[in-house]
């Protein structure tokens, strides 16, 4: 038994643990998601986070120890944001043709999401740094962290809020769109990418190719627009 504990202590303190745990958990969560016909409630990010969180809590492994390994997955978020140029480039013609409508909808949707979040946080009496960290919640996590940092919020909180926002969108978009009777795949995809960035886009990609492409486009637009406009609006405030 002590040998086992020693082995566990050794393994869980090397970066190998965090990296292996992240990939293995996600692969299993994704297989279950496929098995359950991609039901939004079986979202693989949600269940991977819960499973790893519970393991860390039970084994009393500190988050930095886990992150020492998981950072090798995390750093790929940067190149993934850059890679969004590819779906944007592929849709450049549509973007030019429908540019005004798309940018208009991205601005209105982003402003409605961020603005309502900050207003409600303020009305409910949440601390100021929490309210500020909510402003970029519709933007993909790595960009949201950068924006929150510039505004004087907490980058880690902004990332958590962005992930939770993504999950809410991925889990509930289907029901919201049928309630609103929005059936066009491009419109659905664009709206989910605007309000819940990469996690929403990942969901859209799995549901319909048009929805996926427009979600990727919306997420890229939101990243660019929000990182210019949110700090600007904050400065004018």
């Amino acid at each position: 038994m002590t040998e086992f504990v020693d082995l566990w202590v050794y393994l869980s303190s090397t970066p190998l643990f965090g990296l292996t745990a992240t990939l293995v958990t996600y692969v299993i969560a994704h297989a279950l998601y496929e098995r359950l016909d991609r039901n939004p409630l079986a979202n693989p990010v949600l269940w991977s986070v819960i499973a790893i969180g519970v393991v860390l809590w039970l084994t009393r492994t500190p988050y930095p120890t886990y992150f020492a390994g998981a950072q090798f997955v995390h750093v790929m978020l940067g190149p993934a944001v850059v890679a969004l140029a590819w779906p944007l480039y592929q849709r450049a013609r549509e973007l030019r043709r429908r540019g005004v409508a798309l940018i208009g909808a991205a601005l209105l949707g982003g402003a409605a999401a961020g603005g309502s979040a900050v207003a409600m946080a303020w009305a409910l009496g949440l601390p100021a740094e929490v309210a500020i960290s909510l402003a970029p919640k519709s933007v993909t996590a790595p960009v949201a962290m950068g924006i929150a940092e510039r505004l004087g919020g907490v980058p880690a909180l902004a990332a958590v809020f962005a992930v939770l926002t993504g999950l809410v969108g991925a889990l509930s978009a289907r029901y919201l769109f049928s309630a609103l009777r929005v059936s066009n795949w491009s419109v659905r995809g664009f709206a989910i990418g605007t309000a819940s960035h990469g996690i929403g886009a990942a969901r859209a990609l799995q549901v319909h190719p048009d929805a996926g492409a427009y979600a990727g486009l919306a997420m890229g637009l939101q990243a660019v627009l929000a990182s210019v406009l949110i700090p600007l609006i904050a400065r004018l405030w």
Partner: protein, 117 residues
Amino acid sequence: MNALRGLALLLVFQAGGEALTHALALPFPGPVVGLMLLLGALRWQWVREPVSQVADFLLAHLSLLFVPVGVGVIVHWQLIAQHGMALAVVIAASTWIGMATAALALRALLRNGDTDD
């Protein structure tokens, strides 16, 4: 080999974006500047070929990349538990408000513009 070359290009564009943001004190995060630089460079075949391969792979597995940050929830567990109810309401409601606004706005704006769908 092409995929590796693509990954190298993505990193070069990200680094270029980070460098520009710092040098010119731009208000954008570095990767966003990298995205805009790459968008301009994709017109060249030697950039487009390798980048398209790695971009399709990365974006197909995008949700995996959010797991490490997501687990970070446990670090802020106290704050989140303390304001749990309020945060849940704010996050869920604002997401629905944003998504509904974007969907209805785009549908209305497209109806005025083109008529092909």
